[in-house]
């Protein structure tokens, strides 16, 4: 009898303890539930990120929506107008885009501890968004058509390269719009640079992918394009070469931010922390991007942030003038 009683008591205690343990664990992290992640990263990369995140937080069910930055933002804006934004966490191309969301009061303030390891200029001082990687825009050169690799952006303006230049349109590509803003505000370049490019009768494409294609298939010799797609194509064996010009390169940082009206703040914050953490950054480098966190090395073929000379401009000024810049570009190249 007593044995059975004892056993019963034991079971009861264990059950209670187990129950308590679960409840306590749940309260401590309370990271679970649904998380809507909108991003412009390629699908496969987003997938890897989420499965790594889920190893730490298995109870969070992350749903991804992936498209070009412009489409992601259009979708968010349309959702806002239609009633409520579905996204919890947003990760898209550049800080100017985030600046616009910040001005519309669509972002939640969150100062992640992990952000301390990230260069100050890539973190929003108000804690609305933080850069997650480094993507520079550099030169892509067709290695079959060009024997001597250029070292300067003047490769695009030299009379020799007339008819051989390709670049993405800032009217369609967010990264190209950012580059336009930075280069035209830089003493070394200014609008004069774009006027000289224009004199070479460049081909203007919709996106960066088209630039790479035009150079890879030999239609053009020189292009202006984001670095990582060139490094990947080069590694696969395409006849292209990535060149970081000596003057420096404009850099976008694919910032991450939490939406103001998120239903799941704990999960959103845990996700941001993970992306910025040592492990998250090593994953980014493994996938093929230049990481943004100090002390994590860049993948083969790409420079780390310390090795790059970065061309910069005031984010706020870029945000204020983006429409005007685009218009001016349109007028210059529309002539």
């Amino acid at each position: 009898m007593s044995k059975i009683k004892f056993l019963f008591l034991l079971i009861t205690i264990f059950t209670l303890l187990a129950g308590c343990g679960q409840a306590q664990e749940g309260n401590a992290s309370s990271v679970s539930g649904e998380l809507n992640f909108y991003t412009s990263q390629p699908d496969a990369d987003a997938e890897k990120l989420i499965s790594a995140f889920n190893e730490h937080y298995p109870d969070v069910n992350v749903t991804v929506y992936r498209s070009g930055t412009e489409e992601v933002i259009s979708k968010v804006q349309a959702e806002k107008q239609a009633g409520e934004v579905q996204a919890d966490v947003l990760l898209v191309a550049d800080s100017v885009t985030f600046e616009s969301l910040k001005k519309q009061e669509m972002l939640l303030e969150y100062k992640s501890d992990e952000a301390e390891q990230i260069p100050e200029s890539f973190v929003d001082p108000d804690g609305m968004y933080t850069g997650t990687k480094v993507m520079s825009t550099a030169l892509v050169v067709n290695s079959e058509k060009v024997s001597e690799m250029p070292t300067s952006w003047t490769a695009l303006t030299d009379a020799d390269s007339s008819g051989q230049v390709v670049m993405p349109s800032p009217l369609y590509s967010g990264a190209a719009a950012y580059n336009l803003g930075v280069l035209t505000r830089n003493d070394e370049f200014g609008w004069k640079f774009y006027e000289n490019v224009k004199a070479n009768e460049p081909m203007i494409t919709q996106g960066n992918g088209d630039v790479l294609k035009a150079v890879a298939n030999g239609e053009k010799s020189y292009g202006m394009v984001v670095d990582f797609i060139v490094a990947r194509a080069e590694a696969d064996g395409s006849p292209v070469k990535l060149v970081y010009p000596d003057e420096g390169v404009p850099v976008i940082t694919e910032p991450i931010g939490i939406m103001q009206k998120t239903d799941n703040q704990p999960a959103a914050k845990a996700f941001v922390d993970f992306v910025l953490s040592q492990e998250g950054q090593e994953l980014a480098a493994e996938i093929g991007y230049t990481p943004i966190r100090e002390g994590v090395s860049a993948p083969k073929g790409l420079k780390t942030i310390e090795e790059m000379s970065v061309l910069e401009a005031d984010i706020n000024e870029l945000y204020q003038n983006r429409e005007l810049d685009k218009e001016q570009f349109n007028q210059l190249f529309g002539e």
Binding site: D43, E70, G83, G174, A216, N217, A233, P239, E323
Partner: protein, 576 residues
């Protein structure tokens, strides 16, 4: 009962027998049409009159005063009119040749004719630019003859017009060829016997009778040319040529706070262009005549004799440049290990296909999703689209015309705009109430039906117009009523035409890109979304491998459809 009255009463009876609570169905149908087709358009129009939350004409006044707008409208009209004419000329000529002459290998030709419609348009344009580029095959050929051959610049208005026209002629062909076949040769013979020349016979007999098909196909080509984004984007942006579809996209991605309103305003302008097109096709169709017999006659009527090889050569050259060159280019890219390397024995492998079929689970899921979406959309289209087409032909009143216009508009709107207005319309159909349609796969079903129903309606209208009312009356007089009339008379006669429409719906839904890329969520990826994803990540080799696979599957499906269609025709032919 006077014959006149009888003709008016008939359609009602035909439908009453199908649906017993006719009026209830009618009201429900009107409500459904309003909700599905007009709600998004209504939201869009409202948006175009909104600025900073206020109702205003401001968007219109600023946009209409901008000289750039008129340049864009002018480009759009030129491009759409030009490419539609190109589509009509090629589509009608091919349909005539296949239907009436003794050229060989018609079955195989059918497959090549559909190819340009199946291959994604960015692949087509890429192939064309490679073919005509400075290092391309064309310039190599051009350097051979002693005289100089001008290089062709595709990055121009003419380039856009031709590539669009070549991509959309299958729409005209498919809706025209069976109509040509159904025109009784006795009519032609009678005309010839009365002394009319071949050209006169064609103009006075074949053309008026074939008009429903030609106009339907031309109208679809017109809408497709108006909406197309890929071709004018790829060829127009480098040349600074904007048309409405690319300009609207540019406005949307510019995303200032006023961008949606501006984009909506441009969409309304685009809608007006589409309405003008609708008015033109209505003017044409007003004079069209109906046929009394409806059996497809596949025996050749004209023997080309010594010129046959020349005609065949021209056709195969056309197929070669519009279908085979892009396809070969796509296939070659799908086999190389890295984009841009030369195509040699050392560089080819099947690893891209292996990735698509084995490594990436997304591709397989997307195939399943898209096949299901396309199948359901086509099935819904067959029932609803044919019912609408039947009403439109037999009861051409204001309501049925209005319905047709409402259904046509979503097909003409650029995909981006259409998708955005779907978000506005379906996230909270009634303000404050979110039924969860947006964010689930339901939104894709609704979007596809909204967008592609017009293809079925046009296909079915062409089919219904070929059935003379006297056929129904005869059935009626002989005592066949209700369902048995549909089953024994109408359906067998309609099915080939209805299937053509369903085939177009299925194909379009299967490879749909823009709408799904904005509306999908992570468990409802479609083929288009996956292809777009690979392409944006710079994996052109995966894109082309997946596209090649789709094209192969579609060709397979087309062969199956073709075989079953001819089997059906034989069966119907035997019965009558």
């Amino acid at each position: 009962m006077a014959n006149h009255n009888h003709r008016e009463v008939m359609p009602n009876q035909a439908l009453r027998s199908l649906f017993s609570y006719k009026n209830m169905i009618k009201i429900l149908a009107i409500l459904a049409i309003c909700a599905i087709f007009l709600l998004p358009i209504y939201r869009l129009i409202m948006l175009s009159f909104t600025s900073d939350g206020n109702l205003t004409f401001l968007n219109y006044t600023t946009i209409l005063q901008d000289a750039a707008t008129w340049q864009v409208v002018q480009n759009t009209v030129l491009v759409v009119a030009g490419s539609t004419v190109v589509s009509l000329i090629i589509g009608v000529s091919l349909a005539w040749l296949v239907a009436y002459t003794d050229i060989r290998a018609k079955r195989v030709m059918q497959i090549f004719i559909v190819l340009p419609f199946v291959i994604p348009s960015y692949i087509t344009t890429l192939a064309w630019t490679q073919f005509l580029g400075t290092d391309g095959l064309y310039m190599k050929l051009a350097s051979l003859p002693p005289f100089s051959v001008e290089p062709i610049d595709l990055y121009s208005l003419a380039g856009i017009i031709f590539v669009l026209g070549f991509s959309h002629y299958p729409l005209v062909y498919l809706l025209t060829v069976s109509v040509f076949r159904k025109i009784p040769r006795e009519l032609e013979l009678a005309s010839r016997a009365s002394g009319a020349k071949r050209s006169t016979t064609f103009r006075k007999v074949n053309m008026p009778l074939a008009l429903p098909g030609i106009v339907s196909g031309g109208f679809l080509a017109f809408l497709a040319n108006l909406d197309n984004f890929g071709i004018p984007a790829f060829l127009g942006i480098p040349a600074q040529i904007n048309v409405l579809s690319t300009y609207i996209y540019q406005q949307v991605v510019g995303f200032g706070p006023s961008a949606f309103s501006r984009a909506a305003t441009f969409s309304v302008l685009l809608g007006i262009v589409a309405l003008i097109g609708t008015a033109i096709q209505w003017l044409f169709l007003r004079k069209s005549k109906r046929l009394e017999t409806t059996i497809e006659d596949k025996q050749p009527r004209y023997f080309l004799g010594k010129r046959k090889w020349l005609v065949e050569l021209i056709i195969w050259v056309l197929f070669f440049v519009t279908g085979v060159v892009p396809l070969i280019s796509m296939g070659m890219t799908s086999l190389i290990t890295a984009y841009g390397v030369d195509f040699t024995l050392q560089t080819i492998s099947l690893e891209n296909y292996q990735f698509i079929l084995n490594t990436s689970s997304k591709a397989k899921e997307a195939l399943g999703n898209s096949a299901m979406l396309a199948g359901v959309t086509a099935a819904v289209g067959i029932v609803i689209g044919t019912a609408i087409a039947y009403l439109r032909v037999r009861k051409p009143n204001f309501l049925s015309k209005f319905t047709e216009v409402s259904i046509g508009l979503p097909y003409a709107l650029p995909g981006t705009v259409m998708a955005l207005s779907m978000i506005f319309a379906w996230m909270e159909p009634v303000p404050g109430w979110n039924p969860g349609i947006y964010g689930s796969i339901m939104i894709l079903f609704i979007a596809y039906i909204t967008r592609f129903l017009i293809l079925q309606v046009r296909g079915s209208i062409t089919a219904v117009m070929q059935v003379d009312l006297s056929m129904e009356e005869a059935a009626h007089v002989s005592g066949a009523k209700g369902w048995s009339k549909w089953r024994k008379i109408l359906l067998p006669l309609l099915i080939p035409g209805v299937l053509t429409g369903a085939f177009l719906v299925f194909l379009s839904a299967l490879t749909e890109l823009t709408v799904s890329s904005l509306l999908w969520s992570s468990n409802s990826e479609t083929i288009g979304v996956v292809i777009f994803g690979f392409e944006q990540a710079g994996y052109t080799t995966y894109t082309t491998a997946f596209s090649s696979l789709i094209v192969l599957l579609i060709i397979l499906g087309f062969i199956i459809l073709y075989v079953s269609q001819s089997y059906w025709n034989r069966k119907v032919g035997k019965r009558t």
